[in-house]
């Protein structure tokens, strides 16, 4: 069984879908000859040509505006915003146009666009190239927000996103792209993973960890260690999509474990896990044996220096020590 990387899974989804459907095209900066800043679209110019691999000037808001206008008139664009930090430049076209057009027009338009973008830190790229801005997007009615954590999910979720008739922001993680540690068997044919369904990435009975994107992988590592070291059995729930949110799956897990730790990379204050924690408190208050904790980025921009960046972004050790403390296994500093 072939095993491929996250990046290869994404590229395969794009290629297969483009072979099938002429209305799908790519638009973004340096996606043609260069193959995208992270190499996702390498080789696609050769196969699909300039018309369908549309390399643009540096104009994030116009990339999204153009994608939206072409989507309203029959195309299915996959737009790339090179770093998720640059979403801010296109925020009007995303939040006020693409997301709202359908509603404001009384349901009389469709805006089937996918906005692919690379999020997250850990690359030493500092404050303007490392952010996890999903909370800004997930709050906007009309958008769907997807964050795959592994190659299998990346392919299936991307195909579902392209096939979806709504604007979908698809946030990839830079540290997953080429990491051989996370290669996985991925079916060669096209398949969809439905948007709005989470996934249990590890079964457990003692505590529920809800995580997104790269934090799912770190949580899995932490869970293994906790099992080995303390015989503590964590269930790891991968949200897969932030909006729509699969709250039922989370509640089912919390109902079993009674404890919830939410792990995300963004600064904790105002982050998306506030929504998860709030919904669980609202709907599963009686299930909880302990306060929900959030393990997340520090409340600062992502710093440059490795020692600082490692402190800002939650790592396996911090996840473990926070959970140990919560479970009363240690005094571990959070």
């Amino acid at each position: 069984m072939r095993e491929i990387t996250y990046l290869e899974a994404i590229r395969e989804a794009l290629q297969q879908k483009m072979r099938e459907d002429d209305s799908v095209y790519l638009i973004g900066e340096d996606i043609a000859e260069y193959g995208g800043a992270f190499g996702v679209t390498v080789g696609m110019l050769e196969e699909f040509g300039k018309e369908r691999i549309r390399n643009t000037p540096i104009s994030e808001e116009v990339i999204i505006g153009v994608a939206a206008g072409s989507a309203m008139t029959g195309m299915r664009p996959v737009a790339e915003i090179m770093f998720s930090d640059f979403i801010t430049i296109a925020m009007d076209d995303i939040a006020n146009q693409a997301a709202k057009i359908r509603y404001m027009f009384g349901g009389k338009a469709r805006v089937p666009i996918v906005i692919r973008t690379a999020g997250g830190g850990g690359t030493g790229a500092a404050g303007q190239h490392s952010q996890s801005l999903e909370a800004l997007l997930a709050h906007i009615p009309g958008l769907k927000v997807v964050m795959p954590s592994c190659p299998y999910d990346a392919k299936g979720l991307l195909l579902a996103s392209i096939n979806d008739d709504n604007p979908v922001v698809f946030i990839e993680h830079k540290l997953l792209y080429k990491n051989k540690k996370y290669i996985q068997h991925v079916p060669g044919e096209m398949y969809e993973i439905p948007l709005g369904k989470g996934d249990i990435k590890r079964k457990g009975k003692d505590l529920t960890i809800v995580a997104t994107s790269f934090m799912v992988q770190k949580s899995l590592d932490a869970a293994e260690d906790l099992k080995k070291e303390y015989n503590m059995d964590c269930e790891v729930v991968d949200l897969r999509t932030l909006r729509p949110l699969d709250i039922d799956l989370i509640l089912k897990s919390v109902n079993k474990t009674g404890k919830l730790a939410c792990v995300e990379e963004a600064p904790v204050f105002g982050g998306f896990m506030g929504e998860v924690a709030s919904q669980v408190t609202e709907k599963g208050f009686d299930m909880l044996d302990a306060p929900i904790i959030r393990i997340a980025g520090r409340n600062c921009p992502v710093p440059y220096s490795l020692v600082l960046e490692n402190e800002m972004i939650p790592g396996v050790e911090r996840i473990k020590s926070s959970i140990k403390k919560m479970a009363g296994l240690s005094q571990g500093k959070e």
């Binding site: 116009v62 206008g69 309203m72 404001m104 469709r110 089937p112």
Partner: protein
């Protein structure tokens, strides 16, 4: 701008006009009498629709704000008369005129203004978001310049699908300073997209005079920044608008790429529902009203013996009763059901 062969070689009878130094074919004479009268009727429709809207405002029946197009009718009417029903337009916050010119149903439009379930947006959009996607109107937009990217995307569809359609992107002088104007015109230019950027320069962006917001005399000179063609026209002369857009629509269809047309016009009313108009003088408004686009055009049709003054009155009368009917329809229509508030967010 891509070089394309000019529009069909001039036959003996054809006349070329000099508009802003450009040689533009006089295609207005090609129109039949009914079409020419249709243009007058559309302008009356827009004006009386807006009179009615103004009444609604005065009577407190409009929940939100409204931006009236009174005085600017020739711009939307002439431009849209020059393209086909399958071509696209995008509109602005001051969008009623574009919408009507693109053939919208007045009843449904008016129902939307009153927030009714029967409106174009089922009451969810209101004046600033009326769209008629089926008719090729990709919508008004509450964000100044908000539709510039969308229009450019529609033009990309036309190019990629090779469907022979083109796009007119309407926007105001104020929008020409938005960042996405810049990025979009550049992108359309490098990709030779079939789109006419039609800047309706009505002298003000809200209270800000064009002469304060720009350090150039002609907004169409921004063509030099993108390597495209550009022209400034009398936006209150519906035939000049018609001829210019016919000319460029034809070139667009042949692959010339985008063009920037600046249409000089003027709004008679305040910017929106509430505007004390301290930034302009009564004399200025009066001066512009003397060049009223409807009067000028009716006068032309009469002087060309296409209609009589009585025909003119009759057409206006017919329009007024259409509007009365729209008023009735809108008022009689039911409000949406509050329970449906979260519908239509997702497809």
């Amino acid at each position: 701008m891509k070089k394309v062969k000019g529009i069909n070689k001039a036959s003996k009878k054809e006349k070329f006009l000099d508009i802003d130094g450009h040689k533009i074919r006089d295609s207005f004479p090609d129109l039949g009498r009914e079409e020419k009268i249709g243009i007058l009727r559309t302008m009356y429709r827009i004006r009386h629709f807006e009179f009615q809207t103004e009444q609604f405002i005065i009577r407190g029946m409009i929940h939100g704000t409204c931006h009236l197009y009174i005085g600017e009718e020739a711009s939307a009417t002439g431009a849209i008369a020059a393209i086909g029903p399958k071509d696209y337009i995008t509109s602005t916050h001051r969008g009623h005129g574009h919408c009507i010119a693109k053939g919208a149903n007045l009843n449904i439009m008016m129902a939307e203004l009153l927030g009714k379930k029967t409106g174009y947006c089922k009451g969810k959009g209101g004046s600033m978001h009326i769209a008629d996607v089926g008719a090729g109107n990709l919508g008004a937009n509450g964000i100044v310049g908000g539709s510039i990217g969308i229009a450019t995307g529609a033009a990309l569809t036309c190019k990629m699908k090779k469907n022979g359609r083109i796009v007119i992107c309407f926007f105001g002088d104020g929008a020409a300073n938005r960042g996405n104007f810049h990025g979009a015109l550049n992108m359309a230019s490098i990709w030779d997209l079939p789109i006419i950027y039609l800047c309706e320069n009505n002298v003000y962006g809200m209270s800000t005079p064009v002469k304060e917001a720009f350090n150039i005399k002609r907004i169409s000179d921004r063509k030099y920044a993108y390597g495209i063609d550009g022209i400034t026209i009398d936006g209150n002369d519906v035939t000049e608008v018609y001829n210019t857009i016919s000319h460029y629509a034809s070139l667009c269809r042949k692959g010339m790429g985008p063009v920037l047309v600046e249409s000089l016009t003027y709004r008679y009313r305040g910017h929106s529902k509430s505007d004390a108009q301290v930034y302009r003088s009564k004399e200025e408004v009066k001066k512009w009203m003397e060049m009223d686009p409807i009067k000028r055009y009716a006068g032309r049709l009469i002087s060309e013996n296409l209609i009589t003054p009585e025909d003119d009155k009759q057409i206006e009368k017919e329009v007024i009763s259409e509007i009365a009917e729209a008023d009735r329809f809108a008022q009689d229509s039911p409000f949406p059901d509050p329970a449906d508030v979260e519908e239509d967010v997702y497809a």
